[in-house]
């Protein structure tokens, strides 16, 4: 019958409806579409690095901004942080102030959004077909390993900010640990549980990434300084042609994961384990294999070009507008981030961290040169975006801590001296006899070494050493942001 015919036509017409309703926005990508191709996983991974390198987190506040302000790195008042500036308010350590809250809240939100991004990659990549990827399983492992590494790294930093250090651990629950996407909210865990998750993730990440980064000479070459930060090839060293595999220093490479694992063990008080991991890095110095060292203390002559001490830098992030972000703080207008107590900071006049990594425009206020394109010499343009995240020196400090905790202060001093020597100081100037003098010297050293890198606060927190006389105990723990307390 005729009618039947039309009904048939209609049915045929409608059978494709469900597909027809599946539309994707043009200025955004729907997740299903993104993860159809290997490039989507790459983009999603790059996106996380790019996001955590934004000023709300490591591009500014979690490194040379808010965290270093809390660490009393900068002067206050005229020529320093002005009294009306919100950084000035941060120095009260009253985190409930309206001027201070946003820093903490945006670090938290950035980190946890990035964690959600990691989890979505991990979820999707676990069920993906390896034939999609140019490098097959190797690439899948790499992406998954880096995502796991980032997840652990970010959780670890949140724990360091929002929970008391182990020295003050009260066994209460502080922050949640997310392993799944999507999630509508996880319970807070106690610090130990968080740390065991961090370690587990980092160990897994390490095993996943190690294959790629160390599988052969070529891949090891990609880890060398000139490849991992500059991606410049020479006759003997070939850098990766695919940009995704180049610049390993800007990603969670094997060394970075290992170094962060060492940091994590150290934080937990597992000094033995931390020493093992730290030594893995240090030993890479000796792994010649015709390559030269992968990480070594940056020679003084290199500092003319590189203010970031790239030879000993293990992991770095890239924020292209870094110079623009830093410039307002060194232009003699409004708040200036000038180094606090500069005259007493350095105990060795030859210390190149003083000589080459600071500058002044007026002979009394000194700035760090790490983020400033101050045209003092032939600065390497290509690394102006670099934000150092973890360095070789920290591995030495970790081993030194191991010895100090075992009462071997000679050995501990030796390791501190190794770093100082690498920074052009004279050896043997330190007088360490006990734990207290060790801590004091280590904290001084850390202030010099990690200027503008956001680590000082955590060292003081770890040892429960107040950063200022007025500072209260609870000031080491950031309160959970309002957006978390619902």
């Amino acid at each position: 019958m005729k009618i039947l015919k039309y009904i048939l036509i209609s049915v045929f017409f409608l059978s494709s409806c469900s597909n027809w309703l599946d539309i994707s926005p043009e200025d955004e990508v729907v997740e299903e579409k993104l993860f159809k191709e290997a490039s989507g996983y790459r983009n999603a991974l790059n996106g996380i690095y790019k996001q955590i390198a934004e000023p709300s987190l490591y591009g500014k506040e979690a490194t040379w901004g808010f965290m270093d302000v809390l660490a009393q790195t900068y002067n206050t008042g005229w020529g320093g942080i002005q009294t009306y500036d919100s950084y000035y308010k941060a120095l009260t350590y009253d985190y409930e102030l309206d001027a201070v809250k946003p820093y903490i809240e945006s670090m938290w939100e950035n980190a946890y959004n990035s964690i959600a991004n990691c989890n979505n990659i991990i979820k999707n990549i676990s069920k993906v077909d390896k034939s999609k990827f140019p490098q097959g399983q190797l690439e899948i492992d790499l992406i998954k390993g880096e995502s796991l590494g980032l997840r652990a790294f970010l959780h670890f930093d949140m724990l360091r900010m929002f929970a008391p250090a182990p020295i003050n651990d009260d066994g209460k629950s502080y922050i949640p640990y997310y392993k799944n996407y999507p999630s509508l909210g996880n319970e807070n865990l106690i610090a130990k549980e968080v740390m065991s998750n961090v370690v587990a993730d980092l160990v897994e990440a390490q095993t996943l990434v190690v294959q790629f980064d160390t599988m052969d000479i070529l891949h090891k070459q990609w880890l060398s300084e000139r490849c991992r930060f500059y991606a410049s090839s020479s006759s003997s060293i070939k850098t990766a042609e695919d940009v995704f595999f180049a610049f390993r220093g800007f990603r969670m490479n094997y060394m970075a994961i290992t170094a962060i694992l060492a940091r994590a063990y150290n934080y937990m008080g597992e000094y033995e384990k931390s020493k093992i991991e730290a030594e893995k890095i240090i030993n890479l110095q000796d792994d010649k294999g015709g390559l030269g060292s992968l990480v070594y203390f940056t020679p003084a002559e290199k500092l003319n070009k590189s203010k970031k001490m790239t030879c000993d830098l293990i992991f770095s992030l890239s924020y292209p507008k870094l110079v623009d972000a830093f410039n307002p703080y060194c232009d003699d207008i409004d708040t200036e981030l000038t180094i606090n107590n500069f005259r007493n900071l350095f105990d060795d006049a030859a210390d190149y961290r003083k000589k080459s990594l600071t500058y002044t425009t007026n002979t009394w206020n000194y700035y760090s040169s790490k983020y400033k394109n101050n045209n003092l010499g032939n600065v390497e343009e290509s690394i102006l975006d670099m934000i150092p995240m973890i360095r070789l020196s920290e591995m030495y400090y970790i081993i030194a801590e191991y010895y100090a905790n075992n009462g071997n202060f000679t050995k501990a001093t030796e390791y501190l001296d190794d770093v100082r020597e690498g920074r052009n100081c004279t050896k043997g100037a330190l007088n360490i006899t006990d734990m207290d003098s060790f801590k004091m010297e280590l904290l001084k050293e850390v202030r010099r070494e990690f200027l503008g890198e956001g680590q000082v606060f955590f060292y003081y927190k770890k040892f429960n050493e107040k950063l200022s006389r007025k500072m209260k105990d609870e000031a080491f723990v950031f309160p959970l942001p309002k957006s978390e307390k619902i």
């Binding site: 955004e28 997740e31 983009n43 991004n117 800007f250 890239s318 619902i486």
Partner: protein, 1140 residues
């Protein structure tokens, strides 16, 4: 009678049982085209095969024959219903078959083309004996009407007209009553006395009432008598009486539940689109009270309370309706309950408004021209501000000119200031600031419509021009439009196409916000001696404290070249194809394409003080231009198959259809900076572009499968069922489709004999319906997990993308369950008509953002939370008080009560409540932006609740306000947490009433609107009386009255703040909640039809002159300023309608 007759496949649409009406008479054609198509006669005789029935009712046999042949039967159901027959025919001619069938029965038959007329045997002799009457049926334009039916009164005998409108009928001699009944769908039925002497020429007139018998649901037209849904129809004539320029405002007078949200802010701004709801708000909308700047007065997209507008089968935007020419509209139907709207499924929850436009008529060219001249003037009567003398006196009384001894001020400066002001006043300065930005305007509107053509090919051309200048200077909305429709019928096909182009140009007033002018001091000069507009007004304060400050003259900006213009163009093409497959089946396909583009140009003169970087010696880059373009493309496709059949007492009207829709939005926005002068505003002159052009895109698709059945049995028992399955791309992948349905029952009690016998009741229908409909007004991609591509910079190892939003694959549609019960009663020969209904609407699964811990990576996601209900009743009354040839008087009254309740609220709403409380806590004592009550969400309250602290008034002893805490204790401090619902703006009752008086050629129409039982927060008393800044702003005349002065005073307001000190802001308190009762004379109209002799001399067919007034007055129990940012207006109009 084997005359060749043009008689297509008429179908039954209703059957009036128990009345002697032939089936031919009953034919009511729904599709006009059917009437006009003509066919060559098909060979009438046909062979019937295999007809074998035993003891069945006679009419069933007829049905069987109908099914086997092209013939159809015309008979009186009552006559044949009791006859059972048995017949067995293997193969036989129709005649032979019928002979056999009717052999033993008292019936005979007559075959007329394809119609088989069954009548009693005794009355058959008319065919041989009697008289033959010939005649012609024409309409007013003298065009023949084919297909009209002519019946001899009191008999079953009838014929229909051929293509030339001619007929011939044999009348039996026995016939005593010599009356013919002539009828045609859409025309008034006439009875004509005949004699055999001459041929008849009968003129049929159009019957607007006939249209009212049909409910247009957009997909089909259903006989009103058999419909169980709740619908209100408005005819063109009525609509035009209520307003000749604004369709939406006009609708308001006909349905008490259709309400335009009171817009105290934007008053009569022609560019402010009305916000509408039907039967209360059913959705939350965005939480916008705290950040009011976000709502644009001219953009109502994704407004979740807006009803759906369907014009000629296609969904249109409210903007289009707002700009539409009322003369183009043939009828409007408001569908409210589930039975009426379920066919629109996911778009139906807020009600559906069906608009049909005028279709071209056949005949010689018909021209209709309509002009309206409209005088609009600002209505400033609600402003009660002081003149310069009063103002200075008040300042003086408030001790503004008394030096503060403690601050070691000297009296000298204060005296100097007082006398300087006085000198200004004496020199005649009394600036009436309200008049500065306002004007009286004369608007004109023209519309022209030409149609005509043959029965097979018709056309219509329409042109409109409507210039609406606003009462704020230089603001306007100017609409121009042209349309062309073509209609072609061939055999049983009909093709229609309508193409339309509309342009709307609009401009915002450069004078800015009206409230800037209501604050200005009347003794200030705004021009210098040379007549130039001053940039700054005089700073009087300088006299006494010496510090100089710039006080910007609000008239300075308008003297520059700032502008804010919008141009909107819409091109639409609607194509429809109808195919009458056979007598019962109609297939309809419609395809609509609409493309809308709009361009918004905003320019700030380089000299403007509003530049983000104003012009200075060091900054020469000033002047800003923003160009926003958007393009909107929509495809809308409908295909329906409808089936109509009357079998015995059963009438079925069924429909099956598909609806596909796709909308695409594209937009871009560019900012330019740095212009050489205000004259040179082209982007070519810009120095630079600020950021790159931003683009946005969104696409959404919808598919719907629909079906409905309207069934009635013996016209008494009624049933409606409809079902629709809708799918939308906006929803999560798991919940893409949702079903919507409705079920309605009704009974026509007036069909019962015992009621008929009363001879009092013409109509008594009881009906009830229940169903579930939905709503999906939110942006296209919200349910999806999406990644944002980070295009600004790449990461070192390639470009990146990050999660943009947390999707929710389980997101469902909002569902509204709607119960509607009602009755209709018409008595005293339809002189008195009452319609009442009760409804209970409950919206569940409200889509709302749910706040989640930020550690999930996101702040919120969309989920279905919250519930809201609206219950109420409606009443409509119409009384025809006088009805004669010369005089008629009709009274109308309607009334509606609605109670809206938030049944369940979500965490994010609680979150919002907390942010309101926080806002109060962070605010200073003198912050003025907390003087208004803020919306909060609590279960059991409604969206129209007013929140604040309960107040016991001003303590006579201290002059402090006494507040009541939630535990009943009294306090003198305002505590944010103790806010409760202190009022509700929703009225207890609202509606309209009016009358229409027709006397000969005059017609007088009025329409009042009323509202009572609601409350308002009188912001004027707060801002301009209690918190009045007597020194720095103009204030309400009530400012010094009812103030607390000394202990013992029983006063309404706090004591006046002496001198120039800052005034502490009074926060939301029940002291300023007032009962709101309102009566408004919405429109008055007097029309006069010029006598036809006169008109004919001018070769015209009609001339009508009309004088009308809109918003004549508005009485309200709350005395407050209305139209804060844009004043209200009143208008008088004169219109002329000519057809020739």
């Amino acid at each position: 009678m084997k005359k060749k007759q043009e008689f297509p496949f008429f179908r039954n649409e209703k059957r009036k049982i128990k009345q002697i009406v032939m089936r031919l008479m009953l034919v009511k054609l729904i599709m006009l085209f059917c009437l006009t198509t003509s066919f060559g006669a098909v060979k009438s005789q046909k062979v019937i095969k295999n007809l074998n029935v035993k003891n069945v009712e006679l009419f069933k046999v007829f049905e069987k024959i109908e099914a086997k042949t092209d013939f159809y039967f015309v008979f009186n159901y009552d006559d044949v219903k009791n006859h059972l027959v048995t017949i067995d025919v293997k193969s036989s001619e129709l005649n032979a078959c019928l002979d056999k069938l009717l052999k033993d029965l008292p019936f005979t038959y007559e075959i007329n083309n394809k119609m088989v007329l069954i009548s009693y045997k005794g009355k058959k002799n008319h065919q041989t004996k009697g008289i033959k009457i010939k005649g012609k049926i024409i309409d007013k334009q003298k065009e023949p009407i084919p297909g009209a039916t002519i019946r001899i009164k009191g008999t079953l005998i009838g014929v229909s007209t051929n293509i030339n409108g001619e007929f011939s009928i044999n009348i039996p001699e026995s016939q005593k009553l010599k009356v013919l009944i002539v009828s045609f769908v859409g025309m008034k039925t006439v009875e004509v006395n005949y004699s055999k002497t001459k041929d008849l020429v009968i003129i049929l007139e159009e019957d607007t009432k006939e249209l009212e018998d049909v409910v247009i649901t957009g997909y089909s037209k259903i006989n009103k008598n058999s419909f169980t849904g709740n619908a209100i129809s408005i005819s063109k004539e009525d609509l035009l009486k209520a307003s000749k320029t604004n369709i939406i405002k006009a609708i308001e007078s006909f349905d008490p539940s259709f309400r335009i949200k009171e817009n105290n802010e934007w008053g009569s701004d022609p560019n402010a689109l009305p916000e509408i709801n039907i039967r209360g708000n059913s959705s939350l909308g965005s939480m916008k009270d705290l950040n009011k700047g976000d709502i644009s007065k001219s953009n109502l997209k994704n407004n979740p309370n807006l009803p759906t507008f369907i014009m000629d089968g296609f969904e249109i935007s409210v903007t289009k309706l707002y700009d539409y020419d009322p003369n183009r509209i043939a009828s409007i139907t408001i569908l409210k309950d589930a039975a009426a709207t379920a066919m629109y499924g996911s778009r139906a929850a807020n009600g559906v408004i069906i608009i049909t436009t005028v279709a071209p008529k056949a005949g010689k060219i018909n021209v209709s021209y309509n002009a309206v001249l409209d005088l609009t003037y600002p209505d400033l009567t609600d402003y009660n501000l002081m003149n310069s003398v009063e103002k200075l006196e008040t300042e003086s009384l408030a001790k503004c000119f008394v030096a503060d001894k403690e601050a070691y001020d000297t009296q000298y400066g204060y005296n100097a200031e007082y006398y300087a002001k006085m000198a200004n006043i004496k020199s005649g300065v009394n600036t009436y600031w309200l008049a500065k930005p306002t004007r009286t305007v004369l608007n004109n509107k023209h519309s022209l419509y030409i149609d005509g053509g043959s029965q097979t090919l018709r056309f219509g051309v329409d042109l409109q021009y409507n210039n609406q200048n606003g009462v704020m200077k230089e603001s306007f909305r100017n609409r121009k439009g042209a349309g062309f429709s073509l209609q072609y019928s061939y055999k049983n096909f009909l093709i229609k196409n309508y193409v339309q182009y509309l342009i709307t140009d609009s401009k915002e007033s450069p004078y800015g916000i009206f409230s800037d002018y209501t604050k200005q001091l009347p003794y200030d000069k705004y021009k210098d001696e040379n007549g130039h507009i001053l940039k700054d007004l005089k700073d009087w304060n300088k006299f006494s404290n010496g510090v100089s400050k710039n006080i910007v003259n609000p008239l300075f900006e308008p003297s520059l070249h700032n502008f804010n213009k919008t141009k909107r163009e819409e091109l639409s093409n609607n194509l429809s194809l109808n195919w009458q497959i056979n007598r019962d089946l109609l297939w309809k396909v419609q395809l609509g394409i609409t493309k809308t583009t709009s361009e918004i140009n905003k320019f700030l003169d380089p000299n403007s003080l509003n530049n983000s970087n104003p012009l200075t010696l060091t900054n020469l880059i000033a002047g800003e231009l923003n160009i926003t373009n958007s393009e909107y493309l929509k495809f809308d496709m409908n295909s329906t198959l409808s089936y109509n059949k009357a079998i015995g007492g059963h009438v079925i009207n069924a429909l099956l259809g598909v609806n596909l829709m796709e909308t695409t939005d594209n937009g871009n926005s560019a900012n330019y900076r740095g212009f050489p002068s205000g004259d040179l505003s082209s982007p070519n002159y810009a120095k630079e572009m600020v950021d790159k052009t931003s683009f946005n895109e969104s696409t959404s698709r919808m598919v719907g499968l629909l079906s409905s059945v309207n069934y009635s049995y013996v016209d008494t028992y009624l049933l409606d069922i409809s079902f629709r399955l809708d799918g939308s791309s906006s929803f999560g992948t798991d919940k893409r489709f949702a079903p919507f349905w409705s079920f309605g029952l009704g009974i026509n009690l007036h069909k019962y004999d015992f009621i008929k016998d009363l001879k009092l009741i013409n109509l008594l229908k009881i009906r009830a319906s229940y169903g579930s409909t939905g709503k999906s007004n939110f942006s296209a991609y919200e349910a999806r997990t999406t990644y944002k591509i980070m295009t600004s910079d790449w990461y070192r190892t390639g470009y990146g993308s990050v999660l943009e939003a947390l999707g929710n694959n389980k997101l469902k549609w909002e569902t509204t369950n709607n119960l509607d019960v009602g009755f209709e009663l018409s008595v005293l020969d339809n002189r008195c008509y009452v319609k009442a209904s009760y409804y209970d609407k409950r919206t569940t699964d409200l889509i709302s953002p749910v706040t989640i811990k930020s550690s999930t990576g996101f702040r919120h996601y969309k989920d279905n939370v919250g519930e809201m209900s609206n219950k109420g009743y409606e009443l409509a009354l119409r009384v025809v008080a006088l009805k004669s040839d010369d005089l008629n008087l009709i009274f109308n009254l309607n009334f509606a009560h609605n109670k809206s309740v938030l049944e369940k609220i979500s965490d994010s709403m609680k979150d919002y409540n907390r942010s309101v409380i926080e806002k109060y806590k962070n605010a200073g004592r003198y912050d003025r932006d907390i003087s208004v009550p803020f919306l909060q969400y609590t279960e059991g309250a409604s969206l129209s609740s007013i929140y604040g602290m309960k107040s016991n008034g001003i303590n006579p002893a201290t002059g402090e306000e006494v507040f009541v805490l939630s535990n009943g204790d009294l306090t003198d401090s305002w505590v944010a947490e103790n806010q409760v619902v202190i009022g509700n703006t929703e009225p207890k009752g609202q509606g309209s009433f009016g009358f229409n008086l027709g006397y000969r050629r005059f017609n007088f129409y009025t329409s009042f609107m009323y509202e009572f039982g609601g409350e308002r927060y009188n912001q004027t008393l707060v801002d301009k009386v209690e918190n009045a800044r007597i020194y720095s702003e103009n204030v309400d005349k009530r400012v010094l009255k009812d103030r607390w002065k000394k202990p013992g005073d029983i006063a309404k307001y706090k004591s006046i703040v002496i001198g120039r000190d800052a005034v502490e802001t009074t926060r939301s308190t029940s002291r300023f909640v007032q009962d709101y009762n309102m009566l408004k004379l919405n429109s008055v109209e007097l029309s006069y039809d010029v006598p036809s002799e006169f008109v004919k001399k001018m070769n015209m067919s009609m001339v009508r002159l009309t004088f009308g007034m809109n918003d004549v007055f508005c009485l309200s129990s709350v005395k407050q300023e209305r139209g804060l940012s844009y004043p209200f207006a009143r208008s008088m109009n004169f219109s002329l309608k000519i057809t020739f």
